[in-house]
């Protein structure tokens, strides 16, 4: 299973970026291979309009099962993500990613 986070920084000690569309980095953890990945999304700073759908497309290509973010994607970005069957967990803005990730894995394995 792949878990994606909108992140304020490149490394796993970063906090969850509360903004979806203009998140600078996306961190992905794959529970099967235990691999970690960081996708640089800083080019979004230069995008004037439609940052949400662009970041949504990036996430669509990563094919995560779960997306952890802050206040959540807006209407247009949601419509993109609906196609991808991603479970979106909102309300994690400013939370430490590493702890959140470990807790989630535990929760999901308990299910």
């Amino acid at each position: 299973m792949k878990i994606a986070f909108t992140s304020k920084g490149k490394d796993w000690n970063s906090e969850v970026e509360p903004r979806f569309g203009r998140a600078d980095y996306i961190l992905v953890y794959d529970t099967e291979t235990e691999s970690r990945e960081c996708i640089d999304n800083t080019s979004i700073r230069d995008v004037e309009h439609g940052a949400g759908p662009k970041t949504a497309k990036l996430i669509l290509d990563l094919k995560p099962n779960v997306l952890v973010t802050g206040i959540g994607p807006g209407g247009n970005a949601s419509r993109v993500l609906d196609k991808a069957n991603v479970e979106i967990l909102t309300g994690y803005g400013d939370k430490p990613i590493l702890d959140t990730c470990m807790n989630l894995i535990k929760e999901l394995s308990d299910k």
């Binding site: 903004r19 004037e48 439609g50 206040i71 309300g91």
Partner: protein, 288 residues
Amino acid sequence: MKEIVVISGKGGTGKTSITASLATLAREQVVVADCDVDAADLHLLLKPDFASSNDYYSGHSAKIDKNTCIECGACIKACHFEAINSDFVIDEISCEGCGYCEKICPANAISLVDSHVGNWYRSSTKCDNTLVHARLGIGADNSGKLVAMVKKEARQIAEKNNLDMIIIDGSPGIGCPVVSSLSGADLVVLVTEPTISGFHDLKRVYELVDSFNIKAACIINKADINVDICDQIELFLKDKGIEHLVNLPYDERFTNAMLEAKTIIEYDNGQLKALVEESWSKIKTLIK
């Protein structure tokens, strides 16, 4: 740090007058961010000093290098915006920055450069707030990018000065700049008026706020101009669980204050000032 975003959906409800009044009450405890950049007017009431000015670039425009240009005319034919004249000079206002001419130029004489579309400023206001604001040139429009940048700057200033609150004057409508001003917000203050379009746009913008699960509060301005619609708005607020802060009456003192470039807090010593103060203290309780 808490972010309070003031939005209205409809223009002309009194959003900026109220934002400025809240800033006047909060004084140096807050950083104010003007994200209503298309029609930035918060500065008229808060009198910023434009202490630091920075260039803002957005989009591109094409430039022709006269020395390399062979004047073949391919770009003039290709341009859909008729931005290139017969002297091979590009009209910056007509140029959309699409890059078509750059692609097809056989002499590689055309390049795209970043367009300088305005400036953004860090200021101190007459009521000791720090204000982050911007001024755009002719034809330039506000964008999620500019809003994100103004907010980021405001956050950094607040962090540096140990301030725990940012007041954001959001943009009208429900488009990209509004989404950008809402992202990361802790409380949305909706300013509405009891007119058909005021209520309609309130419902529309609330839908957006609700999709982000952000706590919302509402000020009904000019509440007595239509009692029926005002009742309907109050029912709507109750139904949606939106905190109803206060009703402000229609009062020409608001206009007179504006004519003197003052906020109602500076201009009035009676009921109006008290009502805005009541809103501010409720807002402070809501974001605790």
